[in-house]
């Protein structure tokens, strides 16, 4: 009596649906953050979406959330048909997400328990015509725009015949098409289930969009994912995206907009280590992502702590996320190197957020951290260590989560310092490498073992957009925090610790010797100068003596001349000599006087 129907369904269904696909697609937002992004707007409005997934993948929550969003945000009435759980159970579960279903139920939502009583006897063929008639009346009565059929596989299993299943699916599809509701049908499907595969390959033809949800365990951590398999008449992001069930519902983790257009700052913030600031030509860029990698115990936390302390001192808020280490522990440990963070924590400037790694998946952590950031609005953010996320199940997932976390912080202009634990000297390890590609500054701390000692060194592996030192420095921890010291290379080996100290001592000694020698040379020169000055003084004294003698001689001669002249005058007067003679005589007398002086003149030259 119904034998012709299944064939008709299998042949006609794809055709008829494809025919409707010509009209432009209108999207009905789901309110699931991320999902509307990958589907570019949400579910196909007035059409049917099939959600497939294993147990616990989040199908019911997903479907319910689309309905709740529509009812709350767009005041669209909706119907939820529950084939698997009782509507009471569903309302109860929804309460944990803070969705006030009882209120919505009174106004805009209708829940139908569509479970057959367990004692039901099956005696022959049946169909879902009755319930569809009922739903149609209800939809008209409340003006419903959306409908969810949750757990259609339960109904299909009752039919126990693929042909009948197809017939009823087709009946449902016809009904949905006629009513123009935005519909979501969920069904259980395990990956390796042949029955399900056949069942849903047929259903996938009938619907306009197919979304699969995955739930698997990886490294003992549960991971959920969502993938759009098909979306008739619309583009969508292919590939699987992490899905997280948070305390407000489902979130789908996406990278956000694919274009990177963050505002970038040229402002510098201190690393908390003055000499490191110098090495970086002023410090980290504000809003940059900084990666500090290194082996255990190499002072990654201390370096991150120095940054946090410097930020607090500037009066900025710092969110310090520590994995598997309590805030108190970090405060105590940093106090031992003279960094006191306690006061800032007490004043609320510094907030510690300590979490255990293994309790959640990396996506869960990410969601949590983003929430913390949006609540606390820090200017600075420390994740110690970021590599802990990699422990939280699934390497690729962890890397993605890390990248998105850095991206998120960067988009908010938050300066982020992450530490990353790597095996000593294995800095090419994949996690680090991948994260390092989006880190703006990468500082690697390492141990140098030399002369029976293990000492710490610091290298700036890269720092985008700034001049930075290429030199290896020795990192020293003291009561006053971190200091950096020059290292020496001798015979191709970097000298640190005692070797560096010895080298420094040697250089100090050399310097001292040179200084002494210089002093001696100067002294000698000074003495020489003094001696010459003394000789000059002696000679000048002698010169003075000669000059005095000469002056004396000159004055004596002048006197005697005066006397002789006056004698001559007297003689002339006595003789009455004429004027001319007296003049000639006077001249010749002067010449005689000069000749008389000449024997004394060689004394001037000696």
């Amino acid at each position: 009596m119904t034998s012709s129907l299944p064939e008709a369904a299998s042949l006609d269904a794809p055709e008829s649906v494809a025919g409707r696909g010509e009209a432009p697609i209108v999207k009905a937002p789901t309110g699931i953050s991320g999902f509307d992004e990958i589907t570019r707007g949400g579910l196909p409005a007035n059409r049917t979406t099939l959600i497939l997934g294993g147990p616990g993948a989040g199908k019911t929550v997903f479907a319910l959330q689309t309905l709740v969003t529509a009812a709350r945000e767009y005041r669209e009435p909706g119907i939820f048909v529950a084939f698997e759980e009782s509507s009471q159970q569903i309302v109860g579960n929804a309460a944990t997400f803070g969705w006030d279903l009882p209120v919505l139920e009174r106004e805009r939502l209708f829940f139908l328990d569509a479970r057959l009583p367990p004692t039901t006897v099956q005696a022959g063929d049946f169909d879902i015509g009755g319930v569809l008639a009922g739903l149609q009346a209800k939809a008209t009565e409340m003006g419903a725009k959306r409908i969810v059929f949750d757990g259609i596989d339960v109904l299909l299993t009752l039919l126990s015949d693929p042909a009948k299943e197809r017939r009823e699916m087709y009946r449902l599809q016809e009904w949905l098409s006629a009513n123009g509701l935005t519909a979501v049908i969920t069904a259980k499907a395990n990956d390796n289930d042949a029955t399900a595969a056949e069942r849903y390959s047929f259903m996938q033809f009938m619907v306009d969009a197919v979304v699969t949800l995955h739930h698997r365990m990886l490294d003992r951590v549960s991971l959920r994912g969502v993938r759009v398999m098909k979306y008739r008449g619309s583009g969508f992001s292919e590939g699987e995206f992490p899905l997280i069930i948070t305390d407000t519902g489902i979130e789908v983790a996406t990278f956000g907009t694919s274009e990177l257009d963050f505002a970038v700052s040229t402002e510098r913030v201190s690393t908390g280590v003055p000499r490191l600031d110098t090495m970086l030509d002023g410090g980290y860029f504000r809003g940059a992502g900084v990666l500090i990698s290194g082996a255990p115990g190499v002072a990654k936390t201390t370096l991150a702590g120095a940054f946090a302390l410097a930020a607090c001192k500037r009066g900025e808020r710092v969110l310090y996320v520590s994995f598997d280490e309590a805030g108190n522990q970090i405060i105590r440990n940093l106090r031992s190197v003279g960094m006191d963070l306690e006061a800032y924590r007490d004043s609320g400037l510094l907030q510690f957020f300590s979490v255990r790694t293994e309790t959640r998946s990396s996506e869960d952590h990410l969601i949590n951290l983003k929430k913390r950031i949006s609540e606390f609005k820090p200017q600075n953010f420390v994740v110690d260590p970021l590599s802990a996320l990699a422990k939280a199940g699934g390497h690729i997932a962890a890397v993605h989560a890390s990248l998105r976390l850095l991206d998120y912080a960067r988009s908010l202009g938050i300066t982020t310092v992450c530490t990353s634990l790597v095996a000593d000297e294995a800095i090419n390890e994949t996690t680090t490498t991948q994260i390092s590609t989006i880190a703006d500054t990468w500082i690697h701390l390492a141990y140098v073992v030399h002369g029976g000692e293990r000492n710490r060194t610091l290298t700036i592996v890269k720092s985008r957009g700034m001049k930075h030192s290429n030199q290896v420095r020795e990192l020293l921890l003291s009561d006053h925090g971190i200091t950096l010291a020059d290292v020496f290379t001798a015979g191709g080996t970097v000298l640190v610790g005692t070797a560096r100290f010895e080298q420094e001592a040697k250089i100090r000694e050399q310097t001292a010797n040179e200084r002494n020698e210089r002093a001696i040379r100067r002294k000698t020169a000074e003495q020489g100068e003094a001696e010459i000055r003394a000789q000059i003084a002696a000679l000048e004294a002698e010169l003075e003596a000669h000059r005095l003698a000469s002056e004396l001689a000159a004055s004596q001669y002048a006197e005697s001349e005066t006397r002789r002249t006056s004698n001559l005058d007297t003689v002339k007067r006595l003789r009455h000599a004429d004027v001319d003679n007296s003049a000639d005589d006077g001249q010749s007398n002067k010449r005689q006087a000069a000749t008389a002086m000449s024997p004394a003149s060689p004394a001037h030259g000696s």
């Binding site: 569509a114 005696a123 169909d127 009755g130 319930v131 009922g134 009346a137 109904l155």
Partner: protein
């Protein structure tokens, strides 16, 4: 044995519903009319009542009395199942004799 009270939900004259009606009539032909009453609800005419009564598929036959209630779905073509579920003498039992 107390009086049998039955209600059959059908979806108009659909093939399954028509079959159920015919099968039920055949099964009850062997019973004394005074020992049972039957109500037939057409879901297409009373859709809201269908939802309120929690009827999911058609046809559905419900035994309201005697308690406990029983639900039988399908065209009732499997007479043995129906007869057992309703606790009546039917053609199946007779055929077995």
């Amino acid at each position: 044995m107390s009086r049998l009270v039955l209600r059959l939900y059908v979806a108009g004259d659909g093939p399954n519903s028509a079959a159920a009606r015919a099968n039920l009539k055949r099964l009850l032909a062997h019973c004394e009319p005074s020992t049972y009453s039957i109500e037939i609800v057409d879901c297409l005419r009373e859709p809201i009542r269908t939802l309120q009564d929690g009827v999911l598929v058609t046809p559905t036959l419900i035994r309201l009395e005697p308690k406990p209630g029983r639900t039988i779905v399908g065209t009732l073509s499997d007479s043995k199942q129906v007869v057992e579920a309703l606790g009546i003498d039917g053609p199946a039992t007779m055929e077995l004799r």
